[in-house]
Assembly symmetry: D3
Homo-oligomer: 191 residues x 6
C-alpha cells in the first residue's frame, strides 16, 4: 500500500489543538518539595515527565528530583529509553553504573554538591547516600517518558511472580531464598 | 561553530573503502553449530553482530542462535539498544519479560517449535528450557550492536564489586547473603 | 503554532490500552509450517510483521520464514524500509544483491545450512535454490513493517499497467515484449 | 507498563485509509505562479508542505518558491526543524547565515542563476535581492513541516508583546526604540 | 563495554575543522546548465549531493536537476535512502510510482510547469517526457546521499551479471531474452 | 557503491578506546559555583556539554546552570538542536517563548523556586530575573551539543557584520539605528 510507505507505525499521545495550548501546558510546580523518604530504601524520586507536563509530548526530555534520607538508596535500576545526567544540590552521593557483558565493569564515584555524573542509556545504575545527612539531586533524562525498571522489583516483585526455578538458577541461590525474596514487599520509590 | 550545526556527535566503526568491499563482508558461517551448554545456566548464545559481520555497520540489525540443554536457562537480561524477536526451532521454552515500574507486570508464555515471541526494547526477559530435551531458538535484535546485560552478572558479578551496603538494601537481604552471591563465579553465556 | 514545534507529523497504528495488553499481543504461532511453494517462482515467504503481532508496533523489527522448492526463487526484490539478515536452516541457496548506480556491483554467494548473509537496506536482492532439494531460511528485517517490492511484479504487474512506451525504453525492449510481459500473471510469494 | 516500552509518545497527522489514497494526494499545482512581493520586505514565500500535500505526511521533506522584487528581502529567519538547500532560477541573491555562539560567524555569498546554497539546520539565515530586477529561487527543506521563525517578527511582533524591559536589555536599546519597533506592523511573507 | 553504550556504530564522512569552514563549503554552481540528454533514455540527472557540497554532511537533504529531451525518460528507479519531491520548470512530464506488494498500485499523473509531485521513500518511480519539447524539473531528496538504483540497470546491467536462471524465472522470460537484455549497454543517466 | 548503502554520512567525535574509559569520563565538577553575572545582561550560563564530559558523546543530553543577578536576563536565544526543560532553584524568573510564524504566539509565565518550564525545540525563548534578588536555575537540554544562538548577538554582533541594508529592512529601522546596534559590544553569557 502507498500508506505503508509513509506509515512508520510509530504511535503516541494525542496533541491538543494548537489553538488551545496554554503556557501551563509547559509548566509544572512543586519540585522544591522534598519527597517522602520514609520508606524501605530511604529515597524518593519525583519524576516530571510527559504525564506531568503535556507539552513535553515528543520533545525527548524530562526532569526528576531525587531525595535521599540518611543511608538512603536509589536502588539499581535502568531507564530503558534514556540516558541520565545528574547533579547534586545538597549532600554527597556514592553513584555508579555497570557496563554490558562480558566485562560488566563497575564505574563508581563519590559526588558532592555541584558535581555532575552521567549514566549511559540502558545501563544498570544507582545513587546511595552513605552519610547521615540528607541529600538532594536533580536528574535530567533524555526522553519525555524514560521509564524506570528497578532491578530487584522487576525480578523479585513482578506481578505475577517469575518461577523460582528460573530465579534460583539465574541468581545461583536455593529456591527458599528466592521464595523469601519474592515474599518481601517491593515498593517503587518513583512517583 | 558551523560545524556544530552538522556535527551530530554520533560515532562509530570505520567503514572499508567501498572499492574493497567483498561479499564475505556480509557473510558469517557456523550458526548451525550447537553452542556448548555445559555451564552453570545450561544455555549458550551465539551472537552474530557487527563484530562478526563488518557489513552490518550502521544497518541496525543482528542475529543470534540460542542453545538450551535440559533445564537450560538464558537468565534474565536486557538489551540496552534493541528489541528482540525470537522463534523456536526445536523443543519448548518458557519465556517472559517484566514491564517497567510501577506495574512490573510479568508477561510469560510456553512457546514451542515455530512459535514467535517479542521482547520489547530495554525490558528484562529470559528464556527457560523447563524440559529434559534440548531446545534451539533463533533471535533477531534491532541493532547491529544490541548489547547484553545479564542482570545477576551485572549486579553480583561486576568488576569491581558493588558495595554490599548498596545491594543488601536494594535486595532486602543481609550482607552475608550478598557477600556469598558476590563470591560466586558469574559467567557470560553469550559469545 | 506551538503544536508545530512538537508535532513531528509522524503517524502510525493505534496502541491498545496498556491495561489490556496480554502476552498473546507479543506472540505468533506457525512459523514451523512449510509455506506452499507450488507456484511460478517455487518459493514462499511467511512474514511475521506488525499485522501479525500487534506488540511489534514501533519496535522496528520483524521475522520471516522462506521456503524454497527445487529451483525455487525468491525473486529480485527490495525492502523499502529495512535491512535483511538471513540464515539457512536447510539446504543451500545462491544469494546476492546489487548496489546502487553507477557501479551496480553484484555481490553473490552460495550459502549453506548455518550460514548468515546480510542484504543492506533498500538494495535489490534475491535468494535462489539452485538444487533439487527443498531449502528453508529464516530472515529478520529491521522494521515492523518492512514492505516488499518484487521488482518484476511492480514493473510489469502493476495495477493499472505502466505505459509500454516507458517500459520499452527503460528495458531496451520492443513494445511487443513488454506487452507480453505485462500479460503474464504476476503473483506475490509473500504472505 | 508494556505500552510505555513501545509508546514513543510521538504524534502526528492522521493518514488516510490506504485504499482511499489517490495520485492527487501526492500532487500540488501552482508553483509557477509568482508570489505577490508588494509588501514591506518585497518578497514572498510559497511553501509546499504537508498542509498542501497530505501525502508528505512523515516523509520528511518539503519545497518552497521564493519571489523577490527589487531590493526584496527574505528577512533573517530560522527553520526549527529543517536544513534548507536553495537554487536560484532567476536573478541574483546575496545570501548568508550566522553560526552559533560564541563565534557567530557570518557566511555570505552572492549567488546567481543555477547556483545552489545550503543553510544548515536551525541557523539564522536570509536571502536579499540587492538588485533592481526580480529574482526567483526554489528551496527544499528537510521536513514536511519545517516551520519558519522570522526573527524580527517573533521578537518584536509577537502576540502578546514581550516586555520591553526584556527586549531593551537584550538589544541594548532604550525602551522607546523597542516600543516603536513593537508598534510596527510585522507581516509574515510566508504562505 | 561502556563504549558500547554510546558507540551507535553509525559512520560517515569526516568533517573539516570548523575553523577552516568557508561559505564555499555550502555552495555549488552550474545547476542552470542543461544536462546532456543525447543518450539512450534521452534524459540527464545532475545530482547535487554531499559529494558536490561538503557542507551537506549529515544535513539530510540534496537537490537534483532533471533534463528531458523529446520522449526522454528518467527510467524506473529507486532512492534507497530518500523521498523525492519534484517540480516542473519547463514542459510536461508523465510521472508515476508503484506501491509495495501485494497491491503494486500504480499512481500516475501528467504534470506541467509549476506542478509538484512526491515520490515516497523507497518506491519505484519514473518521469517521462512524452512530448516533442524539452522538459526540465528540479527535485529535492531527503538525504545528503540518497542513492539511485535504476531498476533495469541493476537487474540486467550489474557487474558481474546475475545468473540468467534467476532472471528468466523472475521475469517469466526465456533465457535467450535475458541474455539479449544483459548484452545491451546499460548507461547511468545520473551524474 | 555498497558503502553508500550503509554510509549514513553522519559524523562525530572520536570515542576513547573502551579499555581506557574511566569514571571521570562521565564526571564534571563545579556546578555549585555561581557564575559571574557582572556583565551587560546580568546573567551567566555554565553549560555542561560533551566538551566538558567526554562520556556524553552520542548520548543526547546536557545540563546547564543559570545565574541571574538583579534584573539579570538570559536574552532571547535558540537552541538549534535541543528542547530545554528548566527548574528554578532560587528566586523568581519571568520566562517565555514565541512560536513559529504566522502566529508568533508568546507564552510567558513567572516561575518560582521548584517550578519547571519547557522551551520547545528551536523556538526563541528567554529567562528574566525581574527582581532585586539573585536567581538560580538548572536547565537540561536534549542534545550533548545543543548549541546556543543569542538572537541579538547573531543578528547585530556577527563577524563579519550583516549588511545594514538587510537589517534595516528586516527590522524596519533606519540604517543609523542598525549601525549603532552593530557598533555595540555583544558578549556571550554562555561558557
Amino acid at each position: 500500500m502507498v500508506a505503508s510507505s509513509y506509515l512508520l507505525f510509530v504511535n503516541g499521545l494525542a496533541c491538543k489543538n494548537p489553538k488551545d495550548v496554554k503556557a501551563d501546558d509547559f509548566f509544572f510546580s512543586g519540585l522544591d518539595t522534598p519527597g517522602n523518604t520514609t520508606n524501605k530504601v530511604g529515597s524518593n524520586v519525583t519524576l516530571v515527565n510527559v504525564e506531568k507536563i503535556a507539552g513535553l509530548n515528543t520533545l525527548g526530555i524530562s526532569l526528576a528530583r531525587r531525595d535521599f534520607g540518611p543511608y538512603g538508596l536509589n536502588p539499581p535500576h535502568i531507564h530503558p529509553r534514556a540516558t541520565e545526567i545528574l547533579t547534586v544540590l545538597e549532600g554527597s552521593l556514592y553513584v555508579g553504573f555497570v557496563t554490558s557483558n562480558s566485562d560488566n565493569r563497575f564505574f563508581a564515584k563519590v559526588i558532592n554538591e555541584g558535581d555532575v555524573f552521567v549514566f549511559p542509556h540502558g545501563l544498570i545504575h544507582f545513587q546511595f547516600n552513605y552519610g547521615t545527612k540528607n541529600a538532594v539531586a536533580i536528574a535530567a533524562l533524555g526522553n519525555q517518558n524514560p521509564g524506570v525498571i528497578t532491578v530487584a522489583n522487576a525480578v523479585f516483585g513482578s506481578k505475577p511472580s517469575i518461577s523460582h526455578d528460573v530465579l534460583a538458577k539465574a541468581f545461583q541461590a536455593d529456591k527458599k531464598t528466592i521464595d523469601w525474596l519474592q515474599a518481601q514487599f517491593w515498593m517503587d520509590n518513583n512517583n
